[in-house]
Point group: C2
Chain length 183, copies 2
DNA sequence: AGCCGACATGTCAACTTCAACATGTCTGTC
DNA sequence: GACAGACATGTTGAAGTTGACATGTCGGCT
C-alpha cells in the first residue's frame, strides 16, 4: 500500500507523469525514505489505472504513457495519509547490528562503531548539501530535516557507544572482571 | 540473510534454544529492531541445520527441538557482523509520511504531526521503562539506547515541523501569498 | 473427565521486492 | 550512416514476509 501512496503523492505533487518520470523521482530525494525500481512501478501503475486511481492521460512517443490522478486516487491518498495508522514494524539492519555489538570482542566492536561513524558522517554531509541545494521550501524539506536529525542521533549514539566500550575496557583492566550481560 | 544472523546471534548469546524460545525473543526487545514470526523461524532453523550452521542438540517433549550453534554457524555470524556492509536501503513509512506532509492542508498536517508526537512520546516512555528495567549491562542495551535517541530525534523533528507550519501560517495570513514548493 | 491456556511445530497461499532479462525509440554527434 | 546514451516499458524467477490454517502435547484447575 505504501508504494501506491507514494506514487499517488508524486503524481499529485508533480502533476501528470510517466512511469519513467516516477522512477527518476524515486531515485532522487525520495530514495532516503522509500525505494522502488521500474520493475515494481510499471506494473503498479497499470494496476492503479485498472482500479480507477489513475487515468492514462496521453500516450506519447516511445510508448510513453502519462498518468494523471483521478478523484478516486486523490481520495485514496488522503485516506492513507489521515486514516491509516503508520506501520510500526521496522526492519533496520543498522539497529540489528547495534543489538549484536555485545557479542563481539571489544576491539572488533570498536572497529564496527568507528566504521558506522564514518558512514553516518558521510551521509550527513550528503544530506546537508541536498538541504542547502533545495532551499527552504522544497517538497521534500520535511523528510530531509527528519533524515538529518536521525543521522545526528545515530552519530551521537555511536560516540556514546564507543566511549562506553572504552570505559568498560578501563574498568576491566583495573578489576580484571569480565561482566557478561544477559539477554 | 539478516534473519539468519539474528537467529545465530540469539543462540550464541542465549545458549541452545528451540524455535519457540527464539520466537518469544523476537517478540521481546528485538522487536524494535527486527521482526520474524514462527512461520518464518521454523523453516529457517531447519534450513540452517541442513546447512550445518546449527545442530539439533536435543528433542524434548511436545516435539521440542533444541538447536545449538556450530563452529560454522559462529564463523558465519562473525563474518556477517564484520564483513558484510550494512544494507543501506531504508523503507520507512514514518519518513514517507513526513515527505508527503506538504500535500496536506495545514490543519490536517498539524493534526498528523500532533498525532505523531503523541505516539513518539508513548513509545519513548515504553523504551525508557524497558531501559531502567534491564539495567546497564543488558544484551540489548546498545540497541535500546539507539532506539531512544532516534525517538528523541523524531520528537524534536515533529516539534520543529509543527512550529514551522504555524509560522508559515502566520506569514500567509500576513501576506496572503501561498508558496507551493517544488519536488 | 473435561477444558483451558501455554507449549511446540509446521504448511500454504498471497503479496512485496529485486535483479536480470528483454525490447524498442529518439536525438545528437562523429 | 553508425553508434552512444537517454528515453521508455515491459516480464520473469527467486527470495523474503505475512496471516491464516492445521495439528498435537502437557499441566493445572474444576
Amino acid at each position: 500500500m505504501s508504494l501506491r501512496a507514494a506514487l499517488l503523492a508524486l503524481i499529485e505533487a508533480g502533476g501528470p507523469s510517466s512511469g519513467y518520470d516516477l522512477t527518476k523521482r524515486f531515485e532522487g530525494s525520495l530514495a532516503y525514505v522509500w525505494q522502488a525500481s521500474h520493475s515494481q512501478i510499471y506494473p503498479e501503475l497499470n494496476r492503479m489505472a485498472a482500479d480507477g486511481l489513475l487515468r492514462v492521460e496521453a500516450e506519447g512517443s516511445r510508448g510513453r504513457k502519462t498518468y494523471s490522478i483521478t478523484a478516486a486516487g486523490r481520495s485514496e491518498l488522503h485516506q492513507w495519509l489521515l486514516e491509516t495508522k503508520p506501520e510500526q514494524r521496522v526492519r533496520n539492519e543498522g539497529a540489528l547490528r547495534a543489538f549484536l555489538i555485545p557479542l563481539l570482542p571489544r576491539e572488533e566492536a570498536l572497529g564496527l562503531l568507528r566504521e558506522e561513524l564514518r558512514h553516518v558522517e558521510a551521509r550527513r554531509a550528503e544530506l546537508e548539501t541536498l538541504c542547502s541545494d533545495v532551499g527552504e521550501s522544497s517538497f521534500g524539506r520535511y523528510a530531509l530535516e527528519r533524515g538529518l536529525r536521525h543521522l545526528v542521533a545515530s552519530r551521537e549514539w555511536a560516540l556514546w557507544a564507543i566511549e562506553r566500550l572504552q570505559k568498560s575496557e578501563e574498568a576491566r583492566t583495573e578489576t580484571a572482571r569480565t561482566p557478561t550481560g544477559e539477554l
